[in-house]
Amino acid sequence: MIWLTWRQHRLEWLMTLGVLAVIGVFLLMTGLEMANNFRQLVLGNCLGLTSKGNPSCDELIQAFIKQHGFLGGASLLLALPLLLGALVGAPLVTREVEQRTHLLIWTQSITRMRWLTVKLALVLGAGLLASGALLPLLIWWHSPSVQIFGDSFGASVYDTSGPVWVATALLALALGIFAGALTRRTVAAIFLTMVLFLAIRAPVEWLWRPNFETPLTVTYSIDQQNPPALSNQDWQVASGYIDAQGNRSTDLREGCTRDETLTQCLQANGVQANYLTYQPGDRFWTFQWIETGIYVGFSVLALFAAVWLVRRLN
C-alpha cells in the first residue's frame, strides 16, 4: 500500500520538491541580501526608537524598503497550500472514481478503510513535511524586516512564519480530499476546495483572529493630537471614541465643520476620550497556536467527513 501510494503520487511529490526548490533558492538569495543590508542598519545603529529622525538611517531604511519591496508579496505564498489542496488533495479520490480504478483497488485483499488510511497518512504526512521544510527558511527570511519594521502580525509575516503556515497546508489538503470525496469529479472538487478554503480562511483572518484574546485598550484625552505610541511589534486592532456613558463608537454622530478645532468637534459630539485597542506583540505565538488549533480542528472535521463519504461511496 505504501508502495502503491508512492507510485501514484510520485509525480506530485517530485513537482512539490521542484516548487520547494525554486522557492527555496529565491528565499535564500533574497534572504542573504536582506541579511547583508540588515547588517548595515545594525552597524549604523539604526534600529530602535533612538534612531528615529536620524537622516542617514531614514535613507538606509528607505533604501531597504525600495530594494525589498517584494516582502509585502509574501502572502502570495498562501497560494502554495491552496495549490497543494487543489492539485494533490482533490484528485485523491476523484481520480480513482473517474478512471474507475476504485473498483480495481477496493477489490484487492486490503480493505477500503486501510487503503484510505494509508493514503491519507502518507499524503498528509508529505504535505506537512513539505510545508514544514519551508518554515525555518521563511522565519529566517522574515527576520530582518520584522526587526526593522515590527508588524509580525501583518498578514505576510503572520501567515507564513509560524505553525499557522503548516496548519494552512494541512487544512487545504484535508479540504481537497473532502471535496473530492463529496463531488467525485476533479474539476468540481478543485473548485470546491478553493471555495471552502477561502470560506474558512477569510473569516478566521478578518473576524476571529483580532479577537483570539481580548484586545488591550488604551484611552487618551481628546486634547491629545497623536495616540500614545505602541511598540512596532504590537497590532492595533481598532480605534474610536468613548462617550460619557462609556459607550464606544468608531464614528462621530456628526461631521466636523471647518471652523472648529478637532477637540471642539469631539466635544460637540459628546466624546469624552479617545481609545485604541491592540494586541501586544508578545501574544504572537499564542495567536499562532490558537489559529493552528482552529485549522487542525477544521482539517480533522473534513477528514472524518471524507472517510465517512468514502466508506459509503459506491
Partner: protein, 305 residues
C-alpha cells in the same frame, strides 16, 4: 457441496429505483456460472454487492459464509473481481500492476502472473494505457487470477472485445478453472459466447432473478411444444409456460416442465440456450415467474407418444 455465493432477498435501491430486488440465489462452489440479463437488469449491482463495493438496501449476501462488506478481511482475499471495461491504472506498466497485486494480496502467485503475461505476449514494461483493449482485459483477468481467488466475478468481460480477443480471454479463463477449480460468475447481456464455458445459468431481468440452475438441467426441462391451435391453460396447470405464440392453426409454447408431459398432440422439441434466455428476458416485469425451483425439484421431461 457448499456454496461460493449465497444471496438472500438481496435488494439494492438507488433513490426510488430498485436496481435489484429480492434476489435469492445460491452458486455452488466449483461452478462456472453465466449471469445473463439485458442492460440495466441489475447484473453489475449484484456483482458489486457480492464483492462488497456496495451496501445492500435489504437482504444479505455471503461469500463462503462471510459478508464481503462487514467482514472484508475474511472475504476479500478469496474474491477476484474484474470490473466492467476492465479499469487499470493507465500510467502503470504491466510490471507495476503485477507489483501492485503482489503487495496487496497475501495469496498472490507471481509465477502464474508472469507465465500468463509471457504466454499472452504482453510486454511487462508497456504502460497499461498503451495496450489494446483486448490486452487490457487480459491483464485485468490475470491480475484477478494471480490473486488465487476461490470465487472470480467478471462483469461483462467480453462486451468490449472482438471475437478473437473473446476467444483468447475465455481460453485464459478456462485454463485457470481447469488448474485450480475456482468458482466463476461472469455476467453478460448475451449468452452466445458463454454457453460453451458455463455449466450454470442465472437469468436476471428487471431486477429479479428469473431462473437459476445447472445448464444441463435447464436444457433438459425446457422444451418447445408445437401443436394445433389451442389454449395453453391445460399445459400451464402442470408446467410453467414461459412463452406462448399462436398462429391461425398452430400454438407454440416454451415451457419449463415440472414432470412428464402426457398429451401426445404436442410435438416436443429441444430449445437452444439462447432461445431459453430470450424467452425469459422477454417476459414482462409485471408477469413475473414464480421463484426458480432448486435443482433437486427439477425433473427431466418425458413424453409419451
Amino acid at each position: 457441496m457448499s456454496n461460493a455465493l449465497e444471496t438472500n432477498k438481496l435488494s439494492k435501491r438507488y433513490g426510488r429505483t430498485w436496481a435489484l430486488q429480492d434476489c435469492t440465489l445460491n452458486l455452488p462452489a466449483g461452478r462456472v456460472a453465466a449471469l445473463v440479463g439485458p442492460n440495466g437488469a441489475g447484473k453489475t449491482t449484484l456483482l458489486h454487492l457480492a464483492v462488497g463495493l456496495l451496501e445492500p438496501t435489504a437482504g444479505e449476501v455471503q461469500v463462503f459464509g462471510c459478508s464481503p462488506l462487514r467482514q472484508p478481511t475474511e472475504a476479500l482475499w478469496r474474491l477476484g473481481f474484474v470490473a466492467q471495461d476492465t479499469p487499470l491504472y493507465k500510467g502503470f506498466t504491466v510490471a507495476e500492476l503485477l507489483t501492485l497485486g503482489h503487495k496487496l494480496n497475501p495469496r498472490w502467485d507471481d509465477a502464474l502472473a508472469l507465465a500468463r503475461m509471457q504466454k499472452l505476449g504482453i510486454p511487462l514494461e508497456r504502460r497499461a494505457g498503451k495496450l489494446s483493449g483486448g490486452q487490457q482485459a487480459q491483464v485485468a483477468l490475470v491480475l484477478a487470477l494471480a490473486k488465487r481467488p476461490d470465487l472470480l466475478l467478471l462483469d461483462e468481460p467480453l462486451s468490449s472485445l472482438d471475437p478473437l480477443a473473446r476467444r483468447e480471454f475465455l481460453r485464459t479463463l478456462l485454463d485457470a478453472v481447469a488448474e485450480s477449480g475456482l468458482t466463476v460468475l461472469l455476467s453478460s447481456h448475451i449468452i452466445g459466447d458463454l454457453e460453451r464455458v458455463c455449466d450454470y445459468l442465472i437469468i436476471l431481468s428487471a431486477s429479479h432473478v428469473q431462473l437459476a440452475g445447472d445448464i444441463q438441467e435447464i436444457a433438459k426441462t425446457h422444451k418447445r411444444l408445437i401443436g394445433p391451435r389451442q389454449d395453453e391453460a391445460a399445459v400451464a396447470s402442470v408446467h410453467t409456460v414461459i412463452e406462448a405464440s399462436h398462429t391461425d392453426r398452430q400454438t407454440t409454447l416454451l415451457v419449463r416442465a415440472h414432470g412428464p408431459l402426457f398429451d401426445p398432440s404436442w410435438e416436443v422439441q429441444g430449445v437452444s440456450m439462447e432461445d431459453i434466455v430470450l424467452a425469459y428476458l422477454s417476459q414482462q416485469a409485471g408477469a413475473r415467474l414464480p421463484a426458480p425451483p432448486s435443482a433437486r425439484e427439477q425433473n427431466g421431461i418425458e413424453v409419451l407418444k
